[in-house]
Amino acid sequence: MNDPYSVLGVSPSASDEEVKRAYRDLARKYHPDNYHDNPLADLASEKMKEINEAYDAITKSREQGGGGQSYSYGGGAYQSQGAGQRQYTGSNAQYVQIRNLINANNLAQAESMLNAISDHDAEWYYLMGSVYWRRGWMDQASQLFRTAATMEPGNVEYRNAVQYMNQGGQAYRPASGMDMMGGDAACNLCQNLICADCCCEMVGGNLIPCIGCR
């Protein structure tokens, strides 16, 4: 493993507070929620793992060496969830298979299976939207999600997807950064959190308790 201090970008003489801050900044940057259904999610989760290991290594060595610096902060770091862990128990076996293909980033096959289905129900539109989303075709994806949500207004998964798209998703942004929607980034923070939580749930995770537990 690389030197844990250089992974976190701090010097070995940094205070506990500085180490913690560096860890939190990096964890915020590479948090799986920023890579929700993202083709680079695997690379981000490797990075997250590296950061978690570095942080754990530092806290452990400091606990052993410098008495009285015990951490109540432990209990493992931000847990990676999301990509690949989607739990789905639908009735239609074909859709289950398509979801698995989408999660494995096998978009071409997922799309051809969808195209072979002639009866287009709400889930069909939702899954087609997911294929487009992964491909980076955001506009078409949002239209398809909207169609799914209109056909089945009670479905939380579809509604959350529409909401997530309307809000402009979620991403890491430096404190002074601007967004593309013409609003102030900070104003949208709470909305984004709530929204990201919905989205997290969409892939089988839960963001708000996940922050709350830290």
Binding site: L40, G136, N166, G168, Q170, A171, D179
Partner: protein
């Protein structure tokens, strides 16, 4: 090229601004070295961004140089290096195609101007296309497909944007490792998407007036040459998603000497350009003026 991908100058540190100018001027000198004096007119901010994005982790050599634009006080230019050579080659390839496109689509004196420029740069294009045959092939293929979509008056914004975005993504193919190829490719794909959409928004009223193709005309229902507030919101939310993808990819690229400037461009420059284009304050005249006067 388009000029949307630039830093917000006031937010750069002085040292960062000088480094940025060093890359811009270095690119201009590199163009002259590789492709002769005329190709210098193709230098632009978008490919300056590319040269910085592709730069290695170590600082490159610099050297003070004079030129026609800086005859008295030399600028500290980036010396020839791999990323600068790549950016110069791609500037010529894409710049030449853009001129060719202008010659085909334009009318009267403007089209003639493009035609003359195209002819004058043909030698430079051939040289660059031979050096970067993969990229030149991707440009030609995608532009041909885009032209077919234009003729069919394609109403899918994503499909039209995909062509230009794919051109930029292909630049990532030259990166040294598989991970970097994926990361850079993803970043550039979404950057290309944003540039294409901004250009479409910028040209919308003009394209409606001249009955030219613009994907927004068919995807939305513009009134009086403008998108409705509702359509604008939808479009910008979609652009935000592409910007998020850029953020995610950028975070995975390691630091290099230009990280501060790249951060400025991604998180301030592109949103500011987007704001200006939607507000209608980014018109063609101002575009040219800014391009010439700010460095």
């Amino acid at each position: 090229m388009y000029g949307y991908v630039r830093p917000v100058k006031g937010e750069l540190k002085v040292a960062e601004f000088e480094r940025f100018r060093g890359v811009y001027c270095g690119l201009c000198h590199e163009l002259a070295r590789r492709y002769g004096f005329l190709s210098r007119f193709l230098v632009n901010y978008d490919f300056t961004f590319l040269a910085m994005l592709l730069a290695g982790p170590e600082p490159a050599e610099t050297c003070p140089r004079r030129c026609a634009a800086h005859p008295i006080r030399p600028t500290v230019c980036l010396e020839s290096c791999e990323s600068l050579r790549t950016a110069a080659d791609m500037t010529v390839v894409l710049g030449w195609w853009k001129l060719a496109d202008g010659a085909q689509d334009g009318h009267g004196a403007k089209a003639l101007g493009y035609k003359i420029a195209c002819r004058a740069l043909r030698g430079a294009y051939r040289k660059a296309a031979a050096r970067r045959s993969d990229f030149a092939g991707a440009v030609e293929d995608n532009l041909r497909q885009l032209q077919a979509l234009e003729e069919a008056r394609c109403a899918s914004l994503d499909q039209a944007a995909d062509k230009f975005a794919s051109i930029l993504r292909s630049i990532g193919g030259g990166e040294p490792t598989e991970d970097r190829r994926r990361i850079t490719g993803e970043l550039l794909y979404h950057l290309g998407r944003i540039i294409y959409i901004l250009d479409a928004v910028d040209d919308l009223s003009e394209d409606i007036a001249s009955d030219s193709y613009n994907p927004l005309r068919y995807r939305f229902q513009p009134a009086d040459g403008r998108l409705t507030a509702e359509d604008e919101r939808t479009l910008r939310a979609g652009m935000q998603l592409s910007h998020n993808a850029i953020s995610g990819a950028f975070a995975l690229l390691g630091d290099n000497p230009y990280s501060g400037i790249l951060t400025n461009i991604i998180y301030l420059g592109i949103p500011a350009a987007t704001q200006a284009v939607f507000a209608g304050t980014w018109n063609a005249g101002a575009k040219l003026h800014r391009e010439r006067s700010s460095l």
